[in-house]
């Protein structure tokens, strides 16, 4: 059932496996397997951490520049430092609600190396002085829930969690909890709402970020699964060795889920910043080329929310700042490749439809706007589009995420840059993210939209699944 292609080439000694070293170890998910296999000894980092002060642990993580792997790439050590002094209790929340389209890494980390995540969570809890850790796993992932539950049970039994951990004063509880199907809960304030038993709607921030007022209005650090899974290796191997991987600004590795039209889709751990998209798509180690000898048409460098890239951008490195400078983002490490057989309108509609379905409904521009975007795109695809539809579409998009482009001038070939990160008329970036595929597709493939609008006889590729929209 789960014969997922992961990078299992052990001969590649030059690419250190920071987080994926147990992906192909049959019992890597057990306490025994965790302490025996992989690129470091299981729970050795926790033992080391317990000889340090919490402040020293935070400093070390700050020095390493461990960037958050959930999408925003905010340095974890800096985030930890935002807890206001003297306010107790503090909480750690592990964000295992992976659901950004194209993203597939946290599920592997939870299913195949749950102890690594638990150890990382304990290190974070120790560093900030947390009273409790909540491990929030996406509802649709029962296998991950089982693996984490079993690992927690083992760890409690071995006195690695709970009262007086390993004979010290350090005591903390780690509680597993499940989601129930809502993409928006991956946003940290929505996750906190969900954890309080509410509808998963994001909170307005600023003024208060979760580090100051989070769960139960107490200081709360929300970290992504992959971010925390980096900690055991980092503590074992040290800052210098960690920083020797990747680039100065983005050290370490990233798990990249390469999907879509490539010969060898898979989850690959790559050093940050030193691998290019071309290498990822074409090399035998990774993608093995575009599927069926086709040409690359476009690709998404970092999940559904990221503006698209095109063939002229394949030589860019997988590095957050560089990709950001080019007007997109590396986001959650989801690279989706689309070849020349891809219908840009259809792909655009599918992405927009995702945001329309997942809008939580709190902010009007997103709740109403994403649905309008979907409807307009659907009728264009169905051959029912009107000549004014592209301007209308961009106008709706502009209301969710105001662009610098005057709409009338959009018809001219030379467009102003798409604003990125997107501007928001909403509390969270979900609605504005729906604009990324629209502006990307219209900017580059306007003719495809116009062809469909002008050719009234075009037939929808598929009508499946539209009954419950």
């Amino acid at each position: 059932m789960s014969d997922t292609a992961v990078d299992t080439d052990e001969a590649d000694q030059d690419v250190p496996k920071v987080v994926s070293s147990r992906f192909d170890v049959a019992d890597g998910h057990t306490l025994d397997g965790y302490t025996r296999s992989g690129s470091f000894e299981g729970y050795a980092a926790l033992r080391r951490v317990l000889t340090m002060t919490p402040g020293a642990v935070s400093e070390l993580v700050k020095d390493a520049t461990l960037l958050g792997r959930g999408g925003a790439a905010f340095p974890a050590g800096v985030k930890w430092g935002f807890c206001p002094p003297g306010v107790w209790p503090r909480y750690v929340v592990v964000n295992g609600d992976e659901s950004e389209p194209g993203t597939y890494k946290d599920r592997l980390l939870m299913e195949r190396d749950p102890h690594q995540l638990i150890e990382g969570s304990l290190i974070a809890a120790y560093a900030i002085g947390a009273a409790q850790v909540f491990l929030y796993v996406r509802g649709e992932m029962p296998h991950a829930q089982e693996r984490i539950a079993a690992a927690l049970n083992e760890a409690y039994e071995a006195n690695l969690i709970g009262k007086n951990i390993l004979g010290t004063d350090f005591s903390v509880d780690v509680v597993l909890t499940w989601g129930a199907g809502a993409y928006i809960v991956g946003e940290e304030t929505a996750l906190i709402e969900s954890l309080e038993g509410n509808r998963g709607m994001p909170r307005l921030k600023p003024p208060f970020f979760p580090a100051a007022k989070g769960l139960y209005m107490m200081p709360t650090i929300v970290n992504n699964v992959e971010t925390l899974s980096n900690l055991p290796w980092l503590l074992n191997h040290g800052v210098a060795e960690y920083r020797s991987i990747g680039t100065e600004a983005s050290p370490g590795t990233r798990l990249i889920a390469l999907s879509g039209d490539v010969e060898r889709p898979g989850v690959y751990e790559v050093p940050q910043g030193t691998t290019t998209f071309r290498e990822l798509f074409e090399s035998e180690r990774y993608g093995g080329g575009i599927r069926g000898g086709h040409e690359l048409k476009m690709f998404i460098p970092g999940g559904a929310s990221a503006p698209w890239f095109f063939p002229e951008q394949v030589d860019l490195p997988l590095e957050g700042r560089v990709v950001g400078g080019e007007g997109s983002m590396l986001g959650s490490g989801a690279v989706v490749v689309m070849d020349d057989t891809t219908d840009a309108v259809r792909a655009c509609l599918r992405l927009v439809r995702f945001f329309a379905r997942e809008s939580c409904g709190k902010c009007t521009p997103c709740r109403e706007g994403t649905v309008w975007e979907e409807k307009i795109l659907q009728r264009i695809l169905d051959g029912q589009g009107r000549p004014s539809d592209l301007d209308l579409l961009l106008d709706v998009a502009d209301n969710i995420s105001p662009g610098p482009y005057p709409l009338a001038a959009y018809a001219e070939a030379d467009l102003e840059a798409i604003p990125f990160p997107p501007r928001q008329t909403t509390i969270c970036p979900l609605g504005p993210s729906s604009v990324a595929p629209i502006t990307s597709a219209i900017r580059r493939f306007r003719h495809e939209f116009e062809d469909k609008i002008n050719r009234k006889d075009s037939i929808p590729v598929t009508s499946a699944g539209m009954s419950n929209v």
Partner: protein, 208 residues
Amino acid sequence: MARLTPDNLLLARKIIARFPKPRSATIMLCHLAQEQDGYLSEEAMAQIAELIGATPAEVLGTASFYEMFKMHPVGKYCVNVCTNISCQLLGGEELLEHAEEVMGIRSGSTTEDGMFTLEDVECVAACTEAPAVQVNYRYFNKVSPEGFDELLEDLRSGELSRTIPPHGTLGYVRQDLDGDRIANITPPSQQVEPVWFPDGDSDEGPAK
């Protein structure tokens, strides 16, 4: 359907004890009720409300936000076909169309025999294994139309009943967190600075 069985009620109380505030257990308790009945009944929501000190409307308010909670009976097997971008590129939408055809229902509905509910779903984090299908949230990778037909056949014949529980059951293994294992779970108002957390100047680890 029903209120929680005595066993499940016991489990529900244990789950509530894991959270600093009872309402934080809402989603876990809704899952528990759905596991028992296959869907989330009004009676169950009323009982959950009693247990966590909320009103039934508040529980419904929360539960109705989340796609996995079904407020009416669904098929024994929920067949979820992913049609999001990575799966769409490799035939997810065509697979959904095929599923609608062979099952004789539109996405979002249940077969007359109560065996299957078909849904097109958003990304299930199996993007490299497209097109992906989940049956009661168990994964099937790279599913072809023929593979889908076989899957339905295996589900009908009971071949997969050992690996795939009826709708509502998620993880088979639960976290086992009884009273004597818990270090310190109390409401936030009763929590103080952890004893092991130094005041800032100390450069030593926690006392042995």
